[in-house]
Amino acid sequence: MKRTVLSLLLALVLLFTVMPTFAEDAEKPVISIGFSGSAASLPEGHTLDTYNYYLEAAKEYANCEIEFAWNLENDSQKVALAVANGEMPDVMIVDQANYVALLDSGMLADLTDVFEERQDTILGEVYAAFPESFEAALVKGRLMALPNTPQQYENPVLWVRQDWLDKLNLELPKTLDDLEELMRAFVEQDPDGNGENDTIGMTVIQTVFSDYNFNNGMESIAALFGAYPRMWYMQDNGEVIYGSVMPGIRDTLELVARWYQEGLIDKEFANHTDTQFTEQMVSGKVGIAFGRGALGCNQIQNTHANDPESYWTPVLCPLDENGIYYSHTRTPVSSYLVVSKDCKNPGTVLDIVIGEYKWHWMIDQDEVGLAKRKEYDVAGTLWGVMPLHIQLERVPIAIERYNAFKQYFETGSVEGLSAQCKQFIAAWEDYVADNTKLTGWGWRYMMYDYGAVITADNIEFANPCYWGTTETMKDSWASLRSMEEEVFVKIVMGESDITAFDQFVEDWYANGGAKITEEVQQFVAG
């Protein structure tokens, strides 16, 4: 009898210990995600949508299952379709235009409360460090999305082929005239020494000026002339102006058109997309390019892999007579993580973000976690494989990473650095030991060489005063932008003369620009 009671009791205990796990399993929420990252090289057996370390870390932390509504590398069409059908997955990442469209249609969940519950996690830390991003996603005091944090110190600088410079016995350029002279030397003096006249001075983006201060744009030259293309700029007199119609643009276009005429810049820039530009650069035809730090671990690293003689140096150029370099900061927010109003567990979505970032930043990770992280670094797996790829930072990373490398080079110690920075430096040490492991080589270029240049104190940054979408923009912005691109390209190619710019400014204001400027002015005034 006693034995029966005891065994029954034990059985009950067993049952109770098992039960909760069953119950938990059954209740695990399933979050459907519209993927927006990029398929990087993954180690054997890892996939974007079924198994990878980011995914596992996110699932474990958020205690949920994840399914993908789509997992294409470039999902802009899927997002557009989701917006068009009014059927979005639980969560996806969208750009400004789609965010506004979703907001207008009332399809988004209010994240205020679930965010406040997670105030003391890394998510709270992120937005405490970048309040202006946080405010961009507030609508009447309610949080409607998780915005990305701005990429500070991600401005383009001038990259120059150092080995070509050495070969021709030239010096790094400082002023605009230096730059022009250098381009001429690179075009005319056969720096690659193959006896053919096939080198390009400088590459230029298809649209002359780039949207987000990306690679190959002529923004830094325009900034020297006091104009900030494709950005809403607050003038000293308190009036806003659209950067592309500022008088400095006229000077810039006139100059670049002359360069084009003289064969100093890529003849075919108007037909070249980023892919072709990368090809040109990696095949060793390009001597000068404006670019951000990431150029270092992409195109420049690949150029070096192709031709181990090649080295690039980042430099601040063109400088004005006082030695100042001008640039404009990127739009604080360009993408938004949005949660559907039909999502039953918006809190879980935020937990996914926290989980993936804790692993990415190596917070609270044990040895096993760190080893896994290292595995990804070696394989060249980028954070683009994160299930929810929204760019977040807790500190201005450019400075942090630059200081880390600086400390390492000066003292040889990695004491007190973040786990992630240690990983970067370990990769560099790998390169020193074996110079075919270029991952660390590229990181050093991006974080240390570029970092030193971009954190220098002779840079003046202009900030955008507005980056949203006004009512009139919804109807006329696309056609104004199309007009701008066309006029600028034609001026540079010499198909139109510079007076076309004056006509453009007039047309721009006449076809909705004046009204939009007024709307932006009102918004800025509050």
Binding site: A84, L102, D104, G106, D198, K474, D475, S482
Partner: protein, 295 residues
């Protein structure tokens, strides 16, 4: 005059009718989008009604005249060449004696028709590139390099030429079939009357092909506002908007990329309306001129 065995034929028609109903008739109700400020989540019924706002918008666009002109010019040039070249080529092919060569040529010129513009764009861009094949040839012959693909002077020509290169094989086959159907008695009679080869082509072959030429022309006139989105889109750049920006590419840039569905729908509606008018007109004309009608 109902006959029992006919019902099978009507049964065979059902899937086609269903297809037409689901994919062509039902979506017509979506036209309403052109008259409202369409917000996807609110749906067609609840979106705000704005009447002709988007049509007025379209007309007032600075580029509206230009894209309309480009579309019509490119489309008409394509239509004309799309008839002249295949007719000419099919007659040439028909005069060949060796059936073997005829078949081979026919197959080879037909192949590009099956390649999409996305695929073809890369080789075409390479051929016409600044350091491409054509420019190398020009330099070798003592000329100067030209930026064909960014030049408003050449771009339209390249569009027309490459399109013709891709499609003329398909047209040729249609006309060749028509030629095969010509009664051989007519040729024999002409020969007895002492007609030369050229005279046989002019007085027998061409008149007998009239009906099919008119049919093809009528069909293509409905496309007068379809200048070929995929081709233009894969080859153009801002530098050649002036001569190559057509209605479809413009709608894509302004409408779809900026999620302006209403504007896109309004533009498509205008396009369809003009297309329909053209078809009706050309059908009427073909009845008058060639005594032939499509419907």
């Amino acid at each position: 005059m109902y006959r029992k065995y006919e019902y099978q034929y009507y049964l065979m028609l059902v899937p086609v009718l269903a297809f037409l109903l689901v994919f062509h008739i039902a979506p017509l109700f979506g036209i309403v989008i052109a008259f409202e400020r369409f917000l996807p989540a609110k749906g067609i019924i609840q979106s705000e009604w704005v009447g002709l706002k988007y049509f007025r918008n379209l007309v007032s666009l600075p580029e509206s005249w230009r894209i309309f002109r480009n579309t019509v010019i490119i489309a008409i040039e394509k239509i004309i060449l799309g008839i002249v070249v295949p007719v000419f080529f099919s007659i040439l092919l028909n005069e060949l004696r060796s059936v073997h060569i005829k078949r081979t040529v026919q197959t080879i010129i037909y192949i590009p028709h099956f390649l999409s513009w996305v695929v073809l764009a890369a080789p075409i861009m390479n051929i016409f590139a600044y350091n491409g094949m054509l420019n190398n040839l020009t330099v070798w012959l003592g000329g100067e390099r030209t930026l064909f693909l960014s030049s408003n002077r050449y771009f339209r020509g390249i569009l027309i030429f490459t399109n013709e290169w891709k499609e003329f094989g398909f047209g040729t086959i249609v006309y060749l079939a028509a030629i095969t159907g010509i009664n051989p008695n007519l040729y024999e009679a002409a020969e007895i009357d002492g007609a030369s080869r050229l005279q046989k082509i002019i007085y027998v072959t061409l008149p007998c092909m009239r009906a099919i030429i008119v049919l093809m022309l009528t069909r293509s006139l409905g496309n007068v506002l379809n200048a070929g989105f995929d081709q233009v889109f894969n080859l153009y750049s801002p530098a050649v908007y002036e001569t190559a920006d057509i209605i479809d590419t413009y709608v894509y840039r302004v409408g779809l990329l900026d999620l302006n569905y209403s504007l896109s729908t309004a533009m498509s509606l205008i396009k369809s309306f003009i297309g329909m008018t053209m078809i009706l007109t050309s059908n009427y004309l073909s009845l008058k001129l060639a005594d032939y009608r499509v419907f």
